[in-house]
């Protein structure tokens, strides 16, 4: 057990993955000498060389598309997208190749590729630097989508993503990069692509992931102070969803609130609400309530606190569910 930040845990996971498997490569913009704009790849080029930690030309389709070819050749590229808003030039390669090559080739090719994306708001950034595009990827058949919320999961989810033979889009909660937590760094084993109980409770289930986990846990504390017991679940795997723990929880609490920074319409929160309602219809004493970003472009940062789900909006949603 050692205390470290989310950023450090990711860096450690990359380092150990590269030590364990010479086929693991890192590619992206400014990932070399600079160590990435968030320093997640800090020191790796120095220690593993320019052939394993590659600064690429400035083109996301090129980064993803060449990583696909490297994966076919037997490498395990870990691609860094500099910010959430800049993954879209690479979207076509992800939809048309990354997600389909195994299916098209009837398994002749595997695409063991990890696409790391710092996501979410709350850092006072300019346009395109605070988005939550995960739902787009959850709708793509043929790729896995995961998100971490703390140092330990950052480490273990990334190590699992890199060893996975499937392509994984890996979301990192950028506003949590510098938050500390304990990490069992000795080594990685076990399946972390599962929903994780963060806090047991009895009155209302709250499901979330990524940067909002801390928000929801804070809300649970506040609720507890008011004598209300929230059960908090962290999805971790956004696609495929591991819903059984959620359904099981809702069967006990009868109430579900889903929290995410992403715009609400046709999103992962829609999917969780629809699926849980399908599977726990008679247990639900209120409709699933969603606390999410509004269906607007991400606002100027001076307004992001009004845009982002916060403790109060979560509690207000829980109230609505309980009062329903």
């Amino acid at each position: 057990m050692t205390m470290m930040t989310v950023a450090k845990a990711l860096n450690l996971a990359l380092r150990q993955s590269m030590e364990d498997d010479a086929k693991v490569l890192i590619m992206g913009e400014d990932v070399g000498k600079l160590g990435g704009v968030f320093r997640i790849t800090d020191g790796l080029q120095k220690d593993f060389g320019e052939h394993r930690v590659m600064d690429t030309p400035l083109a996301e389709s090129g980064i993803v598309g060449t990583a696909v070819g490297l994966a076919m050749r037997g490498y395990r590229p870990v691609v860094e997208i500099q910010f959430d808003g800049f993954v879209f030039p690479g979207f076509d390669q992800i939809v048309s190749q990354v997600a389909k090559i195994s299916f098209r080739s009837q398994g002749a090719w595997k695409v063991p590729l990890v696409i790391r994306i710092p996501f979410g708001g709350g850092i006072g950034a300019v346009e395109h630097h605070s988005e939550s595009p995960e739902s787009f990827f959850c709708h793509i058949a043929g790729i896995r989508v995961v998100a971490c919320s703390n140092p330990s999961d950052a480490y273990h989810l990334l190590r699992q993503a890199i060893t996975s033979d499937d392509p994984v889009v890996f979301f990192e909660p950028k506003r949590r990069y510098w938050e500390k937590g304990e990490v069992e760094s000795a080594s990685h084993q076990g399946d972390y692509f599962t929903t994780r109980l963060r806090r047991p409770g009895t009155d209302c289930t709250v499901v979330t992931y990524g940067p909002s986990v801390a928000v929801v846990l804070a809300a649970a504390d506040a609720a507890a102070a008011e004598g209300r017991s929230l059960e908090v679940l962290d999805l971790r795997s956004l696609s495929p969803l591991d819903l059984n723990p959620v359904v099981e929880s809702v069967r006990r609490t009868g109430h579900l609130v889903v929290v995410s920074e992403a715009p609400r319409e046709s999103s992962i929160t829609s999917e969780v609400a629809a699926r849980v309602t399908e599977e726990a219809f008679y247990s639900l004493q209120a409709p699933v309530i969603r606390v999410a970003g509004y269906d607007t472009p991400y606002p100027p940062s001076r307004l992001e606190e009004e845009y982002l789900p916060n403790l109060d909006r979560v509690l207000e949603a829980v109230d609505r569910s309980m009062r329903y």
């Binding site: 690429t56 060449t66 070819g69 994966a71 050749r73 195994s102 080739s105 398994g107």
Partner: protein, 406 residues
């Protein structure tokens, strides 16, 4: 008569050329830099075997032209053209949902395909049946996707020939990445073990961002990759003028690697130039771009109707530049092959076509479950559940007898 024919052919060639933008400005020599080494590309179209079947050898791209070599290339082209025509027929008869004809591009494809070594890797677009043939892919394996039973029948890893790529340009980036991997694996430099990659795309594809980025990345990482652009003058209904003001091979210079324009209907020139380009890559001087100047003699696909956008004299003009006829003329005129040879190849072609047709008709429709296999390499409970859902549903009908559809 030969002289006269050759004369008219020359005019025709000029006419055909005029009709195409590739030559809105006729190619001139220009300097490009491959890695640290300067190379001068050929002035104009590289030709070794003229449309009239005259052998003119080329200083920059020497080729040892043996009768066996030319006979082999002739056989390749005839067989490929034969099953290509059969593919068209099968579509017309409802046995295939679609066919993408290569008619007219046999020289460009066989030349490139035969220039490859066993360890080289190829990333095709969707029209490279001739290259598939050279890679040892059984022609009947091309039928699967056009009959709608799969999205790719052959094993691309074993054949070292990727599955067909339909989204224009995507494969170029994948090819560059693969070539980067060849370099990282140390497969560049050693004359014996060296590997290279070649990717195929069309004139229209050159406009796509992915093709540009593929060239940027290839140059940045000195990837052993050959960009093989078959400029067949058309992107469905759009002539190449819509894509570019100047010859496409010139793109190469702006990225700092050699670009060569070759007569795509001259299988010998395509072979010689592609061999040179692949060798350049194997020795560490990649990438190289080749523009094979050719023509799409048939429709874009069996769904297309070229009469709506191009007139027949253009096609007629190009007929005189046929890639197979010139080889036949060369073999015959120089007594390098007799009637028995030509008949033999024809008979072989007819057999192939018959097998091609029969195999097509016999292709089994896959089980619905196929839909769920290989979506992921690792277990996926969500998909398993959906598969079970479908099975239950279909079983339900199996019991009740029939399945009705919209």
């Amino acid at each position: 008569m030969p002289a006269e024919q050759s004369e008219s052919a020359k005019n025709v060639r000029a006419a055909a050329a005029r009709g195409t933008a590739g030559t809105s400005a006729l190619p001139e020599p220009h300097e490009v830099i491959a890695g640290l080494r300067a190379t001068v590309t050929a002035p104009g179209l590289v030709t070794i075997l003229s449309p009239e079947g005259e052998l003119l050898d080329h200083p920059d791209y020497p080729l040892e032209v043996t009768p066996e070599l030319v006979q082999g290339l002739y056989r390749d082209m005839v067989l490929v053209r034969r099953f290509d025509r059969e593919g068209n027929a099968l579509q017309r008869q409802g046995q295939l949902g679609l066919w993408v004809p290569l008619l007219g591009q046999e020289g460009a494809q066989i030349g490139a395909g035969r220039a490859m070594r066993p360890l080289d890797m190829a990333f095709p677009s969707y029209r490279e049946h001739g290259v598939a043939w050279c890679r040892g892919v059984d022609p009947t394996d091309i039928l699967g996707m056009f009959r709608g039973i799969d999205h790719g029948s052959w094993n691309p890893r074993k054949a070292r020939f990727h599955n067909y790529c339909i989204v224009i340009g995507n494969q170029v980036l994948n090819a560059v990445g693969y070539a980067m991997g060849q370099r990282f694996d140390g497969m560049v430099g050693d004359e014996q073990t060296a590997e290279a990659t070649i990717c195929f795309f069309g004139d229209g594809a050159t406009s796509q961002g992915d093709v540009h980025e593929g060239m940027v990345f290839g140059a940045a990482f000195n990837a052993p990759v050959v960009y093989y652009c078959q400029n067949n003058q058309w992107a469905i209904s759009e002539p190449v003028e819509k894509q570019s003001r100047v010859p496409l091979y010139r793109r190469a210079g702006s990225y700092g690697f050699p670009g060569i324009r070759v007569d795509g209907n001259d299988v010998l020139a395509c072979l010689a130039v592609t061999r040179w380009a692949l060798d350049e890559c194997r020795t560490g001087n990649g990438p190289v771009m080749i523009e094979a100047f050719t023509y799409r003699m048939d429709a874009h696909t069996t769904s297309d109707d070229p009469n709506r956008y191009r007139n027949s004299d253009e096609t007629e003009a190009w007929k005189l530049l046929d890639p197979i006829e010139r080889v036949k003329a060369y073999l015959a005129r120089n007594g390098l092959a007799d009637a028995a040879f030509f008949d033999g190849v024809q008979a072989e072609a007819d057999e192939l076509a018959a097998r091609f047709r029969q195999t097509c008709i016999d292709l089994p429709t896959p089980e619905p479950g196929r839909m769920f296999s290989h979506v992921f390499a690792e277990p996926n409970p969500q998909l398993d559940a959906q598969r079970a859902e479908m099975d239950r549903y279909l079983a339900g009908f199996a019991d009740s007898g029939t399945v009705t559809h919209r």
